[in-house]
């Protein structure tokens, strides 16, 4: 059995705001086996990006983080900031949605990739540059030596995201967090970048935490999926199983709301009516209940994650949903 590269237990994040404490992440747990991809999915405000920033240790001081985060078995949530900083770029790396704003416009692509190698691996300038060019080649940038001397504005969006990936993977991190890495890219470029990530993961054994809102991306690229809603895990399990037999009503609703290339045309899309609850004043019990067609009295108590299949759990009192279909 492979070991766990990343293990997150009861992670909670609270921001102090003018309106009082805002608990944007309310105790989530998941883990990534070495060399696997786990996707965090959900809509704006579900807490998926906050979870990834908490793992990276990049949340602002106004955030209170509770719970445990283990990287290769080592507890890192309690580490002093200086120790956390050393992990970033070395064992833990992250790529973001918008490669233009996350690259420094004043440095060449090669310099930015080389920086991580000089900082974490102590390579000298010449060796680091050489290694950086090799990394740019590894992420399939044509004419890597020439591109290494160019600045971000001289590169296309897809090329910039490749540079970001080269930077992130330069020090062979154990875990790569990819936060909507292709959302800003065109669909053909997105396909190239996701295929590249899969290939690099297979080659290096790096585990990937993929943050996305796109269930199609989950289907094609994730081993496991964590569906998040309003700061909690709604459903977790093997990606193929969760997408084929979702057991949380929110997952069912999400799958019905997204038009598909192989779905019916012109029909009305199933929609999840209403809006996400205000986390400053969250409802008692299940947070999805106000939008849920299956709501019953017990939904006023917080649902635990029920086992609904091998490695598959859903936070719904009515799971497995087969009960509802049989009763109907």
């Amino acid at each position: 059995m492979t070991h766990l590269a990343l293990e997150v237990r009861d992670l909670a994040v609270t921001f102090g705001t003018e309106r009082g404490p805002l608990r944007v992440l309310d105790g989530i747990s998941f883990s990534i086996p070495a060399g696997r991809t786990v996707a965090l999915v959900g809509e704006s405000g579900c807490g998926k990006s906050v979870a990834s920033l908490a793992v990276m240790g990049l949340l602002p001081p106004s955030a209170t983080v509770e719970g445990t985060i283990r990287l290769e078995g080592r507890e890192i949530a309690e580490l002093p900031p200086e120790e956390r900083r050393k992990l970033r770029g070395a064992d833990l790396a992250m790529i973001f949605q918008e490669p233009m704003t996350s690259l420094n416009p004043a440095f060449t692509a090669g310099d930015q990739v080389a920086e991580a190698l000089r900082l974490h691996q102590g390579l000298d300038r010449a060796k680091a540059h050489e290694a950086a060019v090799a990394m740019l080649e590894a992420v399939r940038i044509p004419e890597a030596a020439r591109r290494a001397r160019q600045y971000p504005h001289q590169l296309s969006g897809g090329m910039r995201q490749r540079v970001m990936i080269a930077m992130a993977l330069a020090c062979r991190p154990r875990v790569l967090i990819a936060d909507e890495p292709t959302t800003a890219l065109d669909v053909t470029v997105q396909a190239q970048i996701l295929a590249l990530l899969d290939e690099l993961r297979a080659g290096t054994g790096t585990s990937v935490l993929l943050i996305t809102h796109d269930l199609g991306v989950v289907a094609d690229h994730a081993d496991e999926v964590v569906v998040m809603y309003a700061g909690r895990v709604a459903e977790i399990g093997p990606a193929a199983q969760v997408l084929a037999t979702p057991q949380h009503p929110y997952t069912v609703g999400l799958l019905g709301a997204a038009p598909r290339l192989d779905g019916p045309r012109g029909t009305r899309l199933a929609t999840v009516e209403g809006t996400v609850p205000d986390l400053a004043n969250p409802p008692e019990g299940c947070r999805f209940k106000s939008r849920c067609p299956f709501r019953i009295a017990v939904c006023d108590t917080k649902p635990p994650l029920y086992d609904v299949g091998p490695g598959h759990r859903a936070a719904c009192h009515r799971a497995p949903l087969e009960q509802i279909l049989e009763a109907a």
Partner: protein
């Protein structure tokens, strides 16, 4: 589709000059480079393509928010270019636009009621006395509450703001609406609500709707006809069912194969989009085409229906459209009985009240 199209573009060209630091002309971005299309009443025409293909410029040209360098734009049979400014202003009440970002498209210093009333006033559509009632009626129609008229844009979510933008676009009683990525910035559950609303409105008001989008799944869901653009030109057009089931241009096939969740059919398209300042000669797709032959570098393929096209309205600009290897069959992958039955419980209720 009615006999005379409401909107008709013929050979429309729009080039944006590129100047160096001394202001000397150094070529041009050929954003739209000879495009002809029509949109009929009650018809949804989708324009798809990647960044820089010219689709947004085309939308602006269709509403004459921008001037073409060549070609004609006709609305209800009248050439908009020849129209005197006063008449054009009159005509504008019939042509509206919905933008991608509902945070940028509403004036933060106008209440929702003022924003929706502005087009009514501008075109003198209802007397002042009836204005408020009309605004409330429009808000109800897009799934908001009448009392929302007195609130400010910042009080609303993205989906609600897009509903406000739709109410504003509807206010003048348009016949044509251009939606430039109208649901792209929305979360998927909210997106579904807005798509359903747009489909209802298009049917109810027999709107001609030009949907500019990069999202092929959304386009397939709502469009009657599709135009696929690449580097300022149309490479394929036809009824949506045919374009999606049997794409006849290699670029359309590559786009479809790239959609996540479609099963990852085939290798992703290689390379980056060439510069629209100096697009490849002859067939513009030849630098990235897996089926490229010598003729593709020498002759520009016309946009025509090939011998094997299922209908003469399904046209492609490819020398080999009749002999391309059969496209991978569209994987029929219905959600499955279980999922469909569960989703039936989510059946949309009438668009009222606390819509997102």
């Amino acid at each position: 589709m009615s006999a005379a199209p409401l909107l008709q573009l013929d050979g429309v060209v729009r080039h944006f000059p590129v100047r160096d630091s001394l202001g000397r002309r150094r070529g041009a971005v050929r954003a739209v480079d000879g495009v002809s299309l029509t949109v009929g009443e009650g018809e949804v025409l989708a324009v798809v393509g990647e960044s820089g293909c010219g689709k947004s410029t085309l939308g602006r040209l269709a509403l004459r928010l921008d001037e073409p360098d060549a070609g004609s734009v006709r609305f209800a049979g009248t050439d908009l270019r020849a129209m005197p400014p006063a008449a054009l202003r009159q005509q504008r009440r019939h042509m509206q636009m919905i933008f991608q970002d509902p945070y940028a498209s509403l004036d933060p210093r106008m209440t929702v009621g003022q924003a929706v009333a502005e087009p009514l006033r501008l075109h003198g559509i209802v007397p002042r006395a009836g204005e408020r009632a009309r605004v409330q009626e429009l808000l109800s129609r897009v799934g908001l509450r009448p009392e929302h008229a007195d609130r400010w844009p910042h009080e609303f979510s993205g989906g609600q703001r897009q509903r406000i933008a739709i109410a504003r676009a509807l206010a003048s009683g348009p016949r044509l609406i251009v939606g430039d990525e109208p649901v792209s910035a929305l979360d998927v559950s909210v997106q579904a609500q807005v798509i359903n609303l747009l489909q209802d409105l298009i049917r109810e008001f027999r709107l001609a709707f030009m949907l500019i989008s990069h999202d092929l799944a959304v386009v397939r869901h709502v469009a009657d006809r599709v135009v696929v653009m690449y580097l300022g030109r149309i490479v394929e057009e036809g009824p949506a069912e045919h374009v999606f089931a049997t794409p006849r241009h290699p670029y359309t096939r590559a786009l479809l194969a790239s959609v996540p969740g479609a099963g990852g059919k085939g290798a992703p398209l290689q390379g980056d989009l060439p510069s629209p300042i100096s697009p490849p000669a002859a067939c513009r797709f030849h630098t990235r085409c897996p089926h490229v032959q010598a003729i593709c570098r020498e002759q520009d393929p016309p946009l025509v229906a090939g011998a094997t096209a299922a209908t003469p309205t399904h046209r492609a600009a490819c020398h080999f459209q009749d002999v391309l290897p059969a496209a991978p069959p569209a994987t029929e992958h219905p959600a499955g009985d279980r999922l469909a039955r569960l989703q039936a419980f989510f059946a949309p209720k009438p668009d009222m009240g606390n819509a997102a």
